[in-house]
């Protein structure tokens, strides 16, 4: 069963075409990894799926329901989606626990006690049990991003969108965040993620899509796209990433 289908999507900013005729299918319990140079449209695609940006053509289907229908209630759709941003975006005026329980309590109608005990369980599982009452500015970048991931999965989304969740972090902190994502993949979470970490992409991806100027120009399993790319653009991109010391 497909959780997400992106069909021939087009997205423009003014006269710039940022996504063009882009299609993507994400079956349940799989991870799709988006790679590509800066500006190739990865973030834009994730924002469109999350309905933070409107698309200019095509359609996006979640669990068989078209979510790009103008008449749809976006708040209801977003309850089924989780998104984690490059810059964490934790709420600075709330404790870690309040950050995590805000949506379960006010959007999903979970009782406060239950939301808190579920949040504590997740925090403990990811070694953050002692940080529940801290405020975000007292946490390291890696801890903040782990809290942000926990916050987005606390509402048990059907689909998790992760936008370069490690690129604002020190290399030493990257691993603690990636290991959470690996765990979630093992739990069977369906996800779409943009990343520059090719080693990590190889580990979690069921499908890798290489974007160039808003199109997916090469796609397939990681063993193919990352280890043995066919197109010269893909080879060139991976060579540059490799030179930057990320492979």
């Amino acid at each position: 069963m497909n959780v997400l289908e992106v069909r021939n999507v087009r997205k423009c900013f003014g006269t710039d075409v940022v996504l063009e005729d882009l299609s993507l299918t994400v079956p349940e319990h799989t991870a799709t990894v988006l790679i590509g140079a800066s500006g190739s449209g990865k973030s834009t695609l994730l924002r469109c799926i999350n309905l933070l940006d409107d698309i200019d053509d095509g359609s996006i289907v979640l669990d068989g329901q078209e979510i790009t229908d103008p008449a749809i209630d976006v708040d209801v759709i977003r309850r089924r989606l989780g998104m984690v941003f490059q810059s964490f975006n934790l709420f600075p005026h709330m404790s870690v626990l309040d950050n995590i329980t805000l949506s379960p309590i006010w959007v999903h109608g979970v009782s406060k006690d239950e939301a808190q005990s579920q949040a504590m369980e997740l925090l403990k599982r990811f070694d953050l049990g002692d940080k529940a009452q801290q405020f975000p500015d007292r946490l390291s970048g890696g801890q903040q991003q782990r809290v942000a991931i926990i916050r987005s999965i606390a509402v048990r989304p059907r689909l998790l969108l992760l936008d370069e969740v490690t690129s604002a972090l020190d290399p030493v902190l990257v691993n603690e965040v990636l290991s959470i994502v690996r765990d979630l993949k093992q739990d069977g979470m369906t996800m779409v993620l943009a990343t520059h970490e090719m080693g990590f992409a190889t580990q979690v991806a069921d499908e890798v899509c290489f974007l160039e100027s808003g199109r997916i120009v090469e796609r397939g399993p990681a063993s193919q796209v990352i280890s043995n790319p066919q197109l010269p653009q893909t080879q060139e991109f991976l060579k540059r990433v490799h030179e930057a010391g990320r492979l």
């Binding site: 999350n50 309850r79 709420f91 805000l102 949506s103 999903h108 500015d137 987005s152």
Partner: protein
């Protein structure tokens, strides 16, 4: 627990074995000398400057007269309770006005920052309101409302100068405070809204739980500033005949041709505004420190 114990032992152990080096002892002594010199210089310059100022005033040819007509201590003591009773009016007016201003200004700010299509006419009205009331001097608004509204002779409408004066103050200050609140709302980064919306929070929940708490925290220092200004400006309603501290002082002064009541009123205002401005200063510095800490994190 056990992880916490070891570093404490460590630092205690190190502290007991540490003996400052000769150079450090010397440095501490040097620092003391430098500090003592700074205090001496500061004291000397303060005494010189303030002393010169006081001598200049006291020896000025008109000082005797000024002292009698402005600083008559026994007269001041006699009018103190009358002026103080007037000040209670200013304080009450400030309290009531600031509550109404808070509600009205927040409504204006929310209207101006909303993007809803249905609210478009209200958004235009709110913008026009803010532009007009920020542009007209408060004194004129007080005169127009205080004398204009009763002249309309609308049945059932109050002609109490106290109420009308308060309304005028509220109308003007709401425009200012609305702008402060709006700037606070706009200063919350769009990524905070995006994060809230992507968690499924509705437009109004995002405002209530994410945007407004951060916005208000940021504008507390300028709002406290406005509160001080509001307290002082309530004195302007005296022009309508409201017996506040200013008016009470004026009545007495015009009877005796001695201006000491004005000085008494000024001192009473200062008794309230100085602690408030000191407090405002402290919250401002604290909020700057907090923002810097966040930037570094």
């Amino acid at each position: 627990m056990s992880t916490n114990d070891s570093p404490i032992h460590d630092s205690v152990g190190r502290a007991s074995s540490w003996v400052p080096s000769d150079r450090e002892v010397e440095r501490i002594a040097q620092r003391k000398v430098i500090a003592r010199k700074r205090i001496a210089v500061a004291t000397l310059s303060s005494v010189l400057v303030l002393g010169a100022l006081i001598i200049a005033i006291v020896t000025s040819p008109g000082f005797r007269v000024v002292q009698e007509t402005f600083f008559d201590v026994s007269y001041g003591r006699a009018v103190l309770h009358i002026v103080a009773r007037g000040l209670v009016t200013n304080i009450m007016l400030t309290i009531i006005a600031s509550i109404v201003i808070g509600i009205f200004a927040m409504t204006l700010a929310l209207l101006r920052t909303s993007r809803s299509a249905a609210l478009t006419p209200f958004r235009i009205l709110a913008t026009a309101y803010v532009d007009i009331f920020r542009g007209v001097p408060l004194l004129l608004v007080i005169l127009l409302i205080g004398f204009g509204v009763p002249a309309l002779r609308i049945h059932g409408l109050t002609s109490s100068v106290l109420v009308l004066g308060t309304v005028a103050v509220v109308m003007t200050y709401s425009a200012y405070v609305a702008e402060v609140l709006r700037s606070g709302i706009l200063s919350v980064h769009p990524s905070q809204r995006a994060a809230a919306r992507s968690l499924g929070l509705s437009q109004s929940q995002t405002l209530r739980f994410v945007v407004l708490p951060q916005a208000i925290k940021r504008v507390i220092p300028p709002l406290l500033n406005d509160l001080v200004a509001l307290l002082k400006d309530t004195g302007l309603v005296s022009i309508l005949g409201v017996i506040d501290a200013v008016r009470a002082a004026q009545i007495d002064a015009s009877r005796t041709f001695n201006y000491t009541p004005y000085v008494v009123a000024s001192l009473l205002f200062l008794c309230i505004t100085i602690p408030l401005t000191r407090y405002t200063d402290r919250t401002l510095l604290r909020s700057i420190a907090r923002q810097n800490a966040q930037g570094a994190a």
